[in-house]
Amino acid sequence: MNPSLQPTLLPALQPLVDRLLAFLAQDGCSDAEFDDLAAALFELQYTFNEPYRRFCQRRSATPRSVSGWRQVPPVPISAFKDATLSCVPPADCERVFMTSGTSRGEVKGRNHHPTIAVWDRSMQRHFEQRFMQGSGRMPMLLLFPDEDQLPNSSLARYLSLAARCHGTPDSRSYIGPQGLDVGGLRAALDKAVAQAQPVALMGASFSVVHLLDALREQGLRYALPAGSRILDTGGYKGQARDLPPDAFYNGLAETFGVPRSRCINMYGMTELSSQFYDAGNQTVPSVKRAPHWVRSRVLDPLSGQELARGERGVLAHCDLANFNSAIAILTEDVGVAVGDGFLLLGRAEGAEAKGCSLAVQEFLEATRP
């Protein structure tokens, strides 16, 4: 599939997009290749993305001064709410993904995609490698609304694309306007067991918890055929009881008969165009790994300095597939660099207030309409 950009879009973009797609198709890359493409994309973003340019100027970072991906100023994810970070005018973009925003009236972060082809290719390449692992098509039971229901959700796109590319035709979403279709899921699970057909159960972590609770309530357990696997993502976001990771993965293993080593957690965010995976959750926290077009650092949140391996800090990612908004992103996730990846240690929740001083979060919760 060769994406064709509309003629109104930046002429500078098409060659870069082609180069990027070729880069994603490679089997890996050298440090120099990564830096080269990072420099080209940084220059593009510096030139055509005005708020980002002002952000860089405050840090005295210009395409001339920056050498190597580590020097590209990372944009805090909160900026996706405050500013329009897009080289291409939003109206000319094929797709926009928005953060979920759990509260009414909350401003949503937006990531604009002039062509969805790059995002799709990034997702597919890494998904094949870390989740499918060479398996053929299998029924995919999706615990998240599908793309038609949530066109601005990157997770809905992710799951729908997974089902299209790697699922059997009966793959579908089991969440509708009525909520979780437990009856439908039970039928699908029974069928998988009866036909000895491995399946993939995939969705938001909190929906997986809801399913676990529903099946346990009915005293149901499955021994899904070997090769079955589970993918959860996104944490609980206050929408399900806070289950410790060990209890969560033990619950999956007990209820579905899927070993913890086949329960894979995907770490992704609206503000990026790529995802991270672990190799199962035999032990937690598990090491998360990136594809070759993404590199990560662990930073001191205030100074922005890179921390030594083994030290806890906030994660910053350089995702070359994020060509239109910002390749360098500063997350609010706490992590620590280990081996060829990082451990994800949760969200940096901001300081908890002590005593009678007031924490921002609590204040906002109290004043929410």
């Binding site: 405050d82 949140p301 205030l302 609010e332």
Partner: protein, 492 residues
Amino acid sequence: MSSPWRAGHLPGLAPDAVQWQALHYAAQGGHLDVEVPMLTDAQMQALAARVRLAAQAQLQTLTVDTVIGIIDRAVARLLDARDPVRREADALLPIVTGFDAEMVRLGLTSYLQAFRAPQLQRFVAQDFANPKVLDGFQPAVKGGAVRAFGPALLAHVWAGNVPGLPLWSLACGLLVKAGNIGKLPSAEPVFATLFARLLCEVHPPLADCLAVVWWKGGQPGPAVTLYRASDTVLAYGGSAALREVRAQVPASTRFIAYGHKLGLTLVGRVALDRQRGPAAARRAALDIVRWEQQGCYSSHAVYVERGGAVSPRDFAQHLAAELANLGHRHPRRALALNEAQAVATWRRAAEWRAIAATDGGGNELLGDAAAPWALAYSDRPQPLVPTAGQRCVQVSAVDALDDVLPLLAPHAAFLQTVGLATTPAELYRLGEALGRVGVTRIAPLGGMTQPEAGWHHDGRFNLADLVRMVDIEQAAERAADALAPYAQESGE
């Protein structure tokens, strides 16, 4: 310091019989292991019984003046820089809290002065027209007689955001002659322990009338045991912590909660001439720097009135300069990862407000990432929201101080202290309006973190809220008269 420092005060319990848990603290170039007691339910029960009985025998037999004298002697020792207990506090508190040593020393000295005898008298006088009601029945204005009894056992759940905080409620508990059991905050287990020891030194019979305990947060056992044994439970903390305590306190037990509060500063144009403007900024900076905005009375937002010789933006620059100065004199404490993240998030939000609009939209962020403070300036009044603390402050320009009132109204439950610089007439006019929207204390700039003795904490009565009044009705007196051995037949 290598051997662990033992916190708590447990009359009647042998240290060997108690299980201890070590809490580790490291800051300001030192580290300290503090051992806190982990009591069994039975131990807590024994402690509660002992304290209740001892208070009855040793404390409730004293006059309130005598109690004031005892507290005064203990506080005098803490005000003496050469006293070994004061020196211990000065040495340990910076390590435990991370606050700058000089800030702790100055802050503690200023705070302790509110607990000297004349100030304690004021505490009592503020709540009781005739303080002798705490010692015995006194004639009531309506006729008959009235007497105030403190709780036989008062449980305190202390917070550790500002050192010395437990002294407020402990002094109040002693003044109403309650048996006191206080739960140490894990964030600062030192001060209350030292003060309990000092009280016992100053007046040994008090040793059994109070206890200082600890339990792991969220652990119901000893907490519930204590609350069941108490007449009144007084707790400081955030909404979540208070909800938890409230759920554990029996319905028939009096529960007094001091929750999260938020302070702000209002600078009127009258304080913004060439001389007064910079001085006002200097004082306003103190309300932000002291205790790193961890107090309920600390300022997070400054609203500056237009029309003075010093413009709001100039004031913001002065304030930034003062924050920078104070950063040298009182270095900000080292931040934990989540605190650093909170500050970074707050700074970024302010930075992106300025970046998102081509001309900055009237928003600026002063102070670079390495500075131990950050000031966000806006030429439009910004909503009242707590900052990340740690010397982060939002400064907004307003056309008139009255414009701030509608911004405060939605947050009545969280309002407490306002630092106000204006004329005497305006002080009362604005004071009325501020009180109406929920503010409970108006302080001068630079005085926000130092409430006066006898203030109505969160608009409540420090002592009156603790006591139970007993009335002997006038009619009962008359009826008793009729039964007196010397009563004369009325001839009915």
